[in-house]
């Protein structure tokens, strides 16, 4: 990969919490337009990694470069985020949630638009509402929406500022399988249209294979049975995947997942460390 194509570089990053390593020596280069899916056992630092990409947390050692420059120290509009919960503002209606970013930009003091300018802002997001299928729910509060509708809103809201990187932390973890398939289609079409780089943490290995152009597996390489906390996790597998297809799946993910799960036993000291996912 040449230097110019690198969107994001993670260089020897480690993260410790109170002296306990969570992540150790993570190295990664990601090119523009990649869709990286991140899987791993619970507590192996996937979400920590994502939070570091967002600048919500900072590496204990090492550095993260965005377009060749150090990552800003706090969250900025060039990196959008969708959390599993609490992603949207509960006190605002669907439409108000979507115009909020515009209001912040146009009204520095109150952060709120009134009258004609508010109507204009709402007219601007009509197309977006249509696309995420929430036109009829424009004046409802998030608590009145289903889980799937809330997450569609969260994704749309995260994309309003046209971020070059979209971070997703188990965004569909609480949704029904049927709804998930619709969400996948929506997410892939938005990704293709907006030429974003996407990082998505998921527990669902099918989802990881279906959506990603690159699969990152986080796991501990070293394992001390007497002190399970002694070592942190890192990226143990970095698999390029075929570009996601929105049609019926051609490869059976279980076969690939199965072949990964059998491999780690060879390079770890403890066979019980093999992946559970």
């Amino acid at each position: 990969m040449n230097e110019a194509a690198k969107k994001l570089s993670v260089k020897a990053v480690s993260k410790y919490y109170d002296g306990t390593p969570v992540l150790e020596r993570v190295d990664l280069d990601v090119e523009t337009g990649s869709f990286c899916t991140i899987v791993g056992a619970s507590g192996c630092g996937k979400s920590t990694f994502l939070r570091m990409l967002l600048s919500q947390e900072h590496p204990t050692r090492g550095e993260i470069l965005l377009d060749g420059n150090a990552l800003p120290e706090e969250p900025t509009p060039d990196r959008g985020i969708v959390f599993q919960k609490y992603s949207v503002f509960s006190h605002l209606t669907v439409a108000e949630n979507l115009i909020l970013a515009g209001e912040f930009e146009k009204s520095p003091f109150t952060g709120k638009l009134f009258g004609a300018s508010k109507r204009a802002a709402i007219a601007e997001i009509e197309e977006l509402l249509e696309r995420i299928g929430l036109s009829a729910a424009a004046n409802k509060y998030p608590v009145q929406l289903s889980g799937g509708m809330q997450q569609r809103l969260a994704i749309a809201q995260a994309l309003v500022k046209k971020p070059s990187i979209l971070l997703l932390d188990e965004p569909f973890g609480a949704l029904d399988p049927g709804i998930r398939v619709d969400m996948h289609a929506l997410l892939l079409s938005l990704w293709q249209d907006l030429n974003m780089t996407v990082f998505m943490v998921t527990h669902d290995i099918h989802e990881a294979f279906k959506l990603g152009t690159r699969l990152l597996v986080f796991d501990k390489i070293r394992h001390d049975p007497q002190a399970p906390e002694a070592f942190g996790a890192t990226i143990t597998y970095d698999l390029p995947l075929a570009a996601p297809v929105t049609g019926p799946e051609t490869i059976d993910p279980e076969t690939i997942a199965g072949s990964i799960a059998s491999k780690p036993a060879a390079n770890t000291s403890n066979p019980s460390n093999s992946k559970q996912t």
């Binding site: 959390f83 992603s87 509960s90 909020l100 608590v143 995260a158």
Partner: protein, 273 residues
């Protein structure tokens, strides 16, 4: 059917709710009746009629000395003191509470001080207030503020801390400044909880109001009941207590109604009380 699964209808629920009130009135009337059988001049448990007459006298007959309708003067003065005190407390809760809850450096500076200050029994401050501000309105309002503001500030600060971190991060990624986050995220999220804090703060506020009026005042509901105590005028004291309770109840319901109207999103999830 098990009793936990049997739910009263609306009419039944209303009737059941009224029952304890009715029982209290009936019990009182019976006790009063038998006491007055023994001693017709009994002052301890006056009859319902004599309390009604006394209440009417306070509300509708001008006072012989001043020519005022005492109940309304007392009510107006007390509510004015209560309202001023709670307005100041609410304003302090909103400004200092949000600053403490949202900005770590201010939290480190003020939170320990506030925690200590809120432990001072407010009534012990009253003599200091009387000496400093005199016996006028200021010291009474100040007592209400000192008695309610610290807990209201603390609960507002806690409400800010309880805003999910995800929402704050999301606002940052949408390009919000700190001030914009306060106006569009923190204040709207905190206001319904501030109203709850206000409703809870009104309970001690009434105590401090009545205490301050009892000690040094010339009008007010608290002043009146402590004044007529000298003549064992239970026929005035008991209706006044009921009247104060009714005012407190109406204020509480009014605030709840405002919260439901203004913050519909907060009440959609279904809450009670």
């Amino acid at each position: 059917m098990r009793i936990i699964n049997r739910k009263p209808s609306r009419v039944t629920a209303l009737a059941l709710g009224l029952l304890p009130f009715l029982a209290t009135v009936v019990t009182y009337a019976i006790a009063s009746h038998y006491r007055r059988l023994e001693n017709p001049a009994d002052k301890l448990l006056p009859s319902l009629e004599s309390m009604g007459a006394a209440f009417w006298r306070m509300a509708a007959v001008p006072d012989r000395r001043s020519g005022d309708l005492l109940l309304w003067i007392d009510t107006f003065d007390s509510l004015w003191r209560l309202g001023s005190g709670m307005a100041v407390s609410t304003l302090l809760a909103l400004t200092i509470g949000i600053a403490i809850g949202f900005i770590p450096h201010i939290r480190s500076t003020l939170a320990p001080y506030l925690a200590t200050f809120s432990l001072i029994p407010p009534i012990t401050i009253l003599p200091i207030l009387f000496i400093t501000f005199g016996l006028g309105e200021v010291s009474k309002i100040a007592l209400i503020v000192i008695g309610t503001a610290p807990i209201m500030i603390r609960s507002t600060a806690q409400a800010v801390l309880d805003i999910p971190r995800e929402m704050i991060i999301k606002a940052e990624t949408l390009g919000a400044s700190v001030w914009q986050m306060i106006t569009r995220l923190v204040i709207p999220q905190v206001l319904p909880k501030l109203i709850t804090a206000l409703r809870l703060g009104l309970v001690p506020a009434w105590i401090f109001l009545i205490s301050a009026e009892a000690i040094a005042s010339t009008t007010g509901l608290g002043y009146r009941i402590f004044l007529v105590r000298r003549y064992l005028a239970m026929d005035v004291i008991l209706p006044y207590v009921v009247w104060i309770t009714l005012l407190a109840f109406l204020l509480d319901r009014l605030l709840l109604l405002i919260s439901r109207r203004a913050f519909r999103w907060h009440h959609l999830g279904g809450d009670a009380l």
